[in-house]
Protein backbone atom coordinates (compact mmCIF):
# COMPACT_ATOMS: atom_id res chain seq x y z
CA UNK A 1 0.00 0.00 0.00
CA UNK A 2 2.84 2.39 0.81
CA UNK A 3 4.53 1.80 -2.55
CA UNK A 4 1.24 2.39 -4.39
CA UNK A 5 0.75 5.70 -2.54
CA UNK A 6 4.26 6.82 -3.54
CA UNK A 7 3.78 5.98 -7.20
CA UNK A 8 0.33 7.68 -7.20
CA UNK A 9 1.84 10.87 -5.79
CA UNK A 10 4.63 10.81 -8.41
CA UNK A 11 2.06 10.23 -11.18
CA UNK A 12 -0.04 13.20 -10.02
CA UNK A 13 3.08 15.40 -10.05
CA UNK A 14 3.75 14.34 -13.66
CA UNK A 15 0.10 15.07 -14.62
CA UNK A 16 0.31 18.54 -13.05
CA UNK A 17 3.53 19.22 -15.00
CA UNK A 18 1.72 18.40 -18.26
CA UNK A 19 -1.13 20.76 -17.27
CA UNK A 20 1.46 23.50 -16.55
CA UNK A 21 2.76 23.00 -20.08
CA UNK A 22 -0.75 23.62 -21.49
CA UNK A 23 -1.16 26.73 -19.31
CA UNK A 24 2.14 28.00 -20.70
CA UNK A 25 0.75 27.59 -24.24
CA UNK A 26 -2.22 29.78 -23.22
CA UNK A 27 0.18 32.33 -21.69
CA UNK A 28 2.09 32.56 -24.98
CA UNK A 29 -1.03 32.62 -27.24
CA UNK A 30 -3.25 34.89 -25.11
CA UNK A 31 -4.48 37.88 -27.14
CA UNK A 32 -4.57 40.31 -24.21
CA UNK A 33 -2.23 40.83 -21.27
CA UNK A 34 -4.90 39.74 -18.75
CA UNK A 35 -4.96 36.31 -20.45
CA UNK A 36 -1.27 35.94 -19.72
CA UNK A 37 -1.68 37.05 -16.09
CA UNK A 38 -4.54 34.56 -15.56
CA UNK A 39 -2.46 31.72 -17.03
CA UNK A 40 0.55 32.72 -14.91
CA UNK A 41 -1.61 32.81 -11.78
CA UNK A 42 -2.85 29.30 -12.54
CA UNK A 43 0.71 28.03 -13.14
CA UNK A 44 1.77 29.35 -9.73
CA UNK A 45 -1.21 27.62 -8.04
CA UNK A 46 -0.24 24.31 -9.67
CA UNK A 47 3.37 24.75 -8.54
CA UNK A 48 2.13 25.26 -4.96
CA UNK A 49 0.19 21.96 -5.23
CA UNK A 50 3.28 20.19 -6.67
CA UNK A 51 5.44 21.46 -3.79
CA UNK A 52 2.95 20.22 -1.17
CA UNK A 53 2.65 16.80 -2.86
CA UNK A 54 6.46 16.52 -2.95
CA UNK A 55 6.67 17.45 0.74
CA UNK A 56 4.41 14.48 1.56
CA UNK A 57 6.25 12.17 -0.87
CA UNK A 58 9.73 12.99 0.46
CA UNK A 59 8.45 13.33 4.06
CA UNK A 60 10.18 16.67 4.52
CA UNK A 61 7.83 19.29 6.06
CA UNK A 62 10.07 22.26 5.27
CA UNK A 63 8.93 22.16 1.60
CA UNK A 64 5.51 23.42 2.79
CA UNK A 65 7.20 26.63 4.00
CA UNK A 66 8.61 27.10 0.51
CA UNK A 67 5.07 26.66 -0.88
CA UNK A 68 3.67 29.31 1.51
CA UNK A 69 6.37 31.81 0.49
CA UNK A 70 5.67 31.02 -3.19
CA UNK A 71 1.94 31.67 -2.68
CA UNK A 72 2.65 35.06 -1.09
CA UNK A 73 5.06 36.00 -3.91
CA UNK A 74 2.57 35.14 -6.67
CA UNK A 75 -0.21 37.07 -4.88
CA UNK A 76 2.01 40.16 -4.52
CA UNK A 77 3.00 39.93 -8.21
CA UNK A 78 -0.59 39.95 -9.50
CA UNK A 79 -1.73 42.69 -7.10
CA UNK A 80 1.17 45.03 -7.94
CA UNK A 81 0.79 44.48 -11.70
CA UNK A 82 -2.97 45.19 -11.71
CA UNK A 83 -2.72 48.18 -9.36
CA UNK A 84 -0.02 49.63 -11.64
CA UNK A 85 -2.23 49.22 -14.74
CA UNK A 86 -5.31 50.74 -13.03
CA UNK A 87 -3.45 53.73 -11.56
CA UNK A 88 -1.60 54.48 -14.81
CA UNK A 89 -4.89 54.34 -16.71
CA UNK A 90 -6.55 56.76 -14.25
CA UNK A 91 -3.69 59.26 -14.57
CA UNK A 92 -3.87 58.96 -18.36
CA UNK A 93 -7.62 59.70 -18.40
CA UNK A 94 -7.17 62.75 -16.14
CA UNK A 95 -4.49 64.14 -18.45
CA UNK A 96 -6.78 63.62 -21.46
CA UNK A 97 -9.61 65.50 -19.70
CA UNK A 98 -7.29 68.44 -18.89
CA UNK A 99 -6.15 68.54 -22.52
CA UNK A 100 -9.81 68.65 -23.61
CA UNK A 101 -10.53 71.67 -21.36
CA UNK A 102 -7.71 73.69 -22.91
Amino acid sequence: MKEFTGSFLLGSVILLSVLIFFCMIRAIKGPRFTDRVVAGNMISTMIIVILSILSVYMEEPFLVDVAIVYAMLSFITVVVLCRLVIVRRRVHEREEQEDGKR
Binding site: L15, L19, T34, V64, A71, F75
Partner: protein, 106 residues
Protein backbone atom coordinates in the same frame (compact mmCIF):
# COMPACT_ATOMS: atom_id res chain seq x y z
CA UNK B 1 -8.17 1.35 9.46
CA UNK B 2 -4.83 2.39 7.99
CA UNK B 3 -5.86 1.26 4.51
CA UNK B 4 -9.19 3.11 4.71
CA UNK B 5 -7.35 6.36 5.52
CA UNK B 6 -4.93 5.94 2.60
CA UNK B 7 -7.73 5.11 0.14
CA UNK B 8 -9.76 8.15 1.28
CA UNK B 9 -6.73 10.40 0.78
CA UNK B 10 -6.01 8.99 -2.68
CA UNK B 11 -9.64 9.44 -3.79
CA UNK B 12 -9.65 13.08 -2.61
CA UNK B 13 -6.37 13.79 -4.48
CA UNK B 14 -7.81 12.17 -7.63
CA UNK B 15 -10.91 14.41 -7.43
CA UNK B 16 -8.64 17.45 -7.06
CA UNK B 17 -6.61 16.42 -10.12
CA UNK B 18 -9.86 16.05 -12.10
CA UNK B 19 -10.81 19.61 -11.09
CA UNK B 20 -7.41 20.83 -12.34
CA UNK B 21 -7.87 19.04 -15.69
CA UNK B 22 -11.31 20.70 -16.03
CA UNK B 23 -9.85 24.12 -15.23
CA UNK B 24 -7.10 23.76 -17.86
CA UNK B 25 -9.69 22.57 -20.39
CA UNK B 26 -11.81 25.64 -19.66
CA UNK B 27 -8.79 27.89 -20.21
CA UNK B 28 -8.82 26.77 -23.87
CA UNK B 29 -12.58 26.34 -24.33
CA UNK B 30 -13.76 29.87 -23.48
CA UNK B 31 -13.20 32.82 -25.79
CA UNK B 32 -12.91 35.83 -23.50
CA UNK B 33 -10.75 36.70 -20.50
CA UNK B 34 -13.55 37.14 -17.96
CA UNK B 35 -14.93 33.69 -18.86
CA UNK B 36 -11.46 32.15 -18.65
CA UNK B 37 -11.03 33.72 -15.22
CA UNK B 38 -14.08 31.72 -14.08
CA UNK B 39 -12.34 28.46 -15.07
CA UNK B 40 -9.06 29.53 -13.46
CA UNK B 41 -10.77 30.40 -10.15
CA UNK B 42 -12.20 26.86 -10.06
CA UNK B 43 -8.67 25.44 -9.83
CA UNK B 44 -7.61 28.11 -7.34
CA UNK B 45 -10.27 27.24 -4.75
CA UNK B 46 -11.86 23.80 -5.29
CA UNK B 47 -8.77 22.07 -6.71
CA UNK B 48 -6.43 23.16 -3.95
CA UNK B 49 -9.06 22.29 -1.30
CA UNK B 50 -9.43 18.69 -2.53
CA UNK B 51 -5.72 18.00 -3.16
CA UNK B 52 -4.50 19.46 0.13
CA UNK B 53 -7.35 17.81 2.10
CA UNK B 54 -6.27 14.46 0.63
CA UNK B 55 -2.64 15.15 1.56
CA UNK B 56 -3.69 16.13 5.11
CA UNK B 57 -5.54 12.80 5.49
CA UNK B 58 -2.52 10.91 4.10
CA UNK B 59 -0.06 12.56 6.52
CA UNK B 60 -2.05 12.15 9.73
CA UNK B 61 -2.31 14.72 12.50
CA UNK B 62 0.86 16.69 13.25
CA UNK B 63 2.39 20.10 12.44
CA UNK B 64 2.81 19.16 8.78
CA UNK B 65 -1.02 18.95 8.54
CA UNK B 66 -1.49 22.38 10.14
CA UNK B 67 0.90 23.99 7.66
CA UNK B 68 -0.97 22.43 4.72
CA UNK B 69 -4.18 23.93 6.20
CA UNK B 70 -2.42 27.31 6.37
CA UNK B 71 -1.85 27.17 2.59
CA UNK B 72 -5.61 26.58 2.01
CA UNK B 73 -6.52 29.51 4.30
CA UNK B 74 -4.04 31.86 2.62
CA UNK B 75 -5.06 30.95 -0.95
CA UNK B 76 -8.78 31.26 -0.15
CA UNK B 77 -8.13 34.79 1.12
CA UNK B 78 -5.70 35.80 -1.64
CA UNK B 79 -7.33 34.35 -4.77
CA UNK B 80 -10.58 36.44 -4.75
CA UNK B 81 -8.59 39.65 -4.22
CA UNK B 82 -6.30 39.00 -7.18
CA UNK B 83 -9.27 37.93 -9.37
CA UNK B 84 -11.12 41.14 -8.47
CA UNK B 85 -8.10 43.30 -9.34
CA UNK B 86 -7.57 41.41 -12.62
CA UNK B 87 -11.20 41.93 -13.65
CA UNK B 88 -10.92 45.62 -12.76
CA UNK B 89 -7.78 46.00 -14.87
CA UNK B 90 -9.51 44.27 -17.78
CA UNK B 91 -12.59 46.53 -17.40
CA UNK B 92 -10.46 49.68 -17.33
CA UNK B 93 -8.26 48.89 -20.32
CA UNK B 94 -10.59 47.08 -22.78
CA UNK B 95 -12.52 49.56 -24.94
CA UNK B 96 -15.11 47.18 -26.49
CA UNK B 97 -16.21 45.63 -23.18
CA UNK B 98 -19.91 46.37 -23.87
CA UNK B 99 -19.86 43.96 -26.83
CA UNK B 100 -18.59 41.13 -24.57
CA UNK B 101 -20.74 41.44 -21.42
CA UNK B 102 -23.42 43.57 -19.79
CA UNK B 103 -22.18 46.73 -18.10
CA UNK B 104 -24.23 48.43 -15.37
CA UNK B 105 -23.72 52.21 -15.46
CA UNK B 106 -23.78 53.89 -12.05
Amino acid sequence: MENVRIVAGIILIAVGLFVYITATFGLFRFHYVLNRMHAAALGDTLGILFVLLGLMILVGFNFHTLRLGLIICFLWLASPVSSHLLAKAEFVTFKHIKSECEVVEK
